[in-house]
Structure formats: C-alpha cells, structure tokens
C-alpha cells in the first residue's frame, strides 16, 4: 500500500496526506488481456486509462515511489509545517474515533494519545 506523508502544523495537529497511485508517472500500462498502452513520455498512470486502478492492469513506473512521494509532498505540505515524515500506511491509526488527538511521532508516524 502506498506510503503516507504526515506533517505537524504550528498548532501541533497531525495532517496525513495520502498520495493516489494514479497520479504516479508511468511509461506504460499493461492490461489483463495483454494489451500494452505505452507513451514516449512519462505521464500519470490514470492518463493511460482515464482512471486508476483498473483490476488486472500493471504499470511500468517511470517515477520511483520515493520521488512520487516527494513530488506530492512538495505540492501539499505547507512551508509552515513544523515536521514532516514519510511513513507506512500501517503506521496511521485505523481507529479514527480520536482522530483530533493524534500526535506527530517521527518513529511510529501518527500516534493516538
């Protein structure tokens, strides 16, 4: 599962950014029936199929996951953020009942107080 970008605001709140894989740059997409859609230049995966994901389709990425995450972080994390980290999705609490009490933890990601 795609990693998450988390950052801490000046008010010490935790914000979680979930990048969408369909926006990650690819050079080709192979469909389940063997059809391969390719481009001579990189483009978001959902430009090949106009939506993403599509069951059985496999993308040939032209952008590493780290580079993609960094690109998303650049466009979503405000310069006022106190701290930023990239964490695994599993490091984000599934229980949202106390969502507004999450705190920033660079080791474990978002943490419930």
């Amino acid at each position: 599962m795609m990693k998450r970008i988390i950052y801490e605001t000046q008010e010490q709140k935790v914000v979680v950014v979930g990048p969408f894989e369909g926006a990650r740059l690819a050079i080709a997409v192979a469909l389940r029936d063997g059809t391969v859609l390719s481009s001579d230049k990189s483009m978001p995966a959902d430009r090949f199929l106009r939506r993403w994901p599509v069951e059985g389709a496999v993308a040939t990425w032209s952008e590493s996951e780290d580079a993609f995450l960094q690109r998303i972080a650049d466009s979503t994390v405000p310069s006022s953020a106190k701290r930023v980290a990239i964490v695994n999705a599993s490091q984000i609490p599934a229980d949202r009942s106390r969502r507004d009490s999450w705190t920033f933890d660079e080791i474990v990601g978002a943490r419930v107080l």
Partner: protein, 272 residues
C-alpha cells in the same frame, strides 16, 4: 483507357476492344500490337488505382475546386476521393473536380452524416475521404475534435476521441472515492487526499483548473443508521478557493460538528 471495354466473358474479348485483337486466326502481326495495347491499359488502370483518386490543387473554403486524375472521365456512384482541404469549411459546401487536362465535372454538394455541411466538417490540412454516391459527396472520415472543440461543445462535425472527451464542459474533470482516512480506492485527476482532521479533507488535483471558478459535488456515505445523529452532509469549505485543490467538510446535521463518513465521494466540473 479501354479496360472498361473488356468483358468478363472470355469469348467476347476476341475483338471490339480498342487496339486489341485476339480473334481466332488473327494475323501474326497483330499479336504484339494487342499485347502492347493491353499493357497500356493495365498501366493506365494501375496509375488510376495508385493515385486512389487523390484530389490535388485543392482551393476554396465552401466552394471547393480540386484537380483529379486524368482518367476520371466522369463522376460515378461509389467513387472514392481523398482530399486535403485548403481551408476549414464554414457552411454548406460544394466540390467541383476537374480531371487533369480535362473539363470540370460540375459542383456537387458535400454532405456529412447524411446532411449538408454546416461548417467544420472539413479541416484545413486534415485529410478526409469522400464517397460520391451518384448525387453528392459524403464525408466518410470525420476530423477529430480538439480540446478547443470539446470546450466549445458546439460542433456536430467532429468526432470525439477518448483522449479529448474529458474537455467537454459536461464532463467531470476530477472525481474521487476514498475511505474515512486517506486510502483512495478509485479516482481520476486526483494526486492526493489530505486528512486534516475529523471531517476535513482536501483533494489535490493532478491537473489544476484554469481558475477557482469550478463546481464541486460531494457526498458523505455514513456507516450508521438513518438517525438524525448519523445524518451527514458534505460541503465545500468557505476557505477553499484554490484551482489546484478543494477542501471539503463533512458535518453532522444534528449539531453541525465535523464527523468522519465511511466514504468520501466527490466530483468536480469546470474548465482546465
């Protein structure tokens, strides 16, 4: 060319075809003449086929003139011509073909999709195929819609390809379906979703709108029953004025407090 005088019945080809004589007992001196005449016929036929009745020296916008192969003696049903227009037509259109070295065959209407052209069916520099049906020319291959065609949304003369479909004003430019958190299960033109707090998400577009004047429709799917306490409403944040992202709140109808839905669903319409 006299190949059109040839018969599919072999016995009928003994004589009567200009320059050809394959009659029984023919004089030996006519053999080479007949062979050369046949070669000339086939060469002429090949020349015509090779040119595929391509029209050249195309001129005019709605009153189009063009030059055709010299072999086109007259117009006949099911003739196919290719043309590269010298201009984009703007209304009812006629085409007058003149065989090379011959006389004009007469102006005929150009139809598109069974009706007289209204404009835009023939595009400057874009090859088209025309079928003459005995009365008029019919455009067989429509030009492809550009982004501008789609955004104008008025032309009935161009065909839409999947690559341009989304530029029509009626088409959603972005949509997303994601869970209460930041897991997007399906979407289009969305690069990320930002979970700012309970009931407060921001959706960032891969390709931004051309301005902040676009329309967002959002719904919040609740996991709970139909009680007032579980009834949710999604709304665009008053602070959301960006062309590159939209901030959406989900509120509980009972008390107006922000709440998490089971799923966020949103779509945006506007100009990119």
């Amino acid at each position: 060319m006299s190949i059109d005088q040839w018969s599919t019945t072999a016995g009928n080809n003994a004589s009567g075809v200009t320059g050809v004589n394959w009659a029984e007992g023919q004089a030996p001196s006519t053999v080479n003449d007949s062979a050369r005449a046949m070669m000339a016929d086939v060469a002429a036929w090949y020349g015509q086929a090779k040119q595929n009745l391509a029209l050249t020296s195309v001129a005019g916008t709605n009153t189009i003139t063009a030059t055709g192969a010299a072999q086109i003696a007259s117009l006949a049903a099911n003739q196919i011509f290719t043309i590269i227009p010298a201009a984009t037509n703007t209304g009812a259109t006629t085409l007058n073909v003149t065989p090379s070295g011959g006389a004009a065959l007469g102006a005929k209407n150009v139809f598109a999709n069974g009706a007289a052209c209204a404009g835009g069916e023939l595009k400057l520099g874009v090859p088209s195929i025309l079928l003459y049906d005995g009365t008029q020319y019919n455009i067989l291959a429509y030009p492809v819609a550009t982004q501008a065609d789609q955004e104008a949304g008025t032309s009935g003369a161009v065909a839409v390809t999947p690559a341009k479909q989304q530029f029509h004003p009626s088409a959603a430019k972005a949509w997303c379906h994601n869970d209460a958190g930041t897991t997007i299960s399906a979407g289009y033109n969305i690069s990320s979703v930002t979970d700012t707090s309970t009931g407060d998400h921001t959706f960032t577009f891969t390709t931004a709108f051309s301005s902040a004047n676009y329309c967002t429709i959002a719904t919040a799917k609740s996991a709970f029953g139909g009680s007032a306490a579980s009834t949710l409403i999604a709304m665009v944040s008053a602070d959301s004025g960006s062309s590159s992202a939209v901030q959406i709140y989900v509120l509980r109808v009972l008390d107006g407090a922000k709440a998490d839905p089971s799923f966020w669903e949103m779509a945006c319409f506007g100009d990119q």
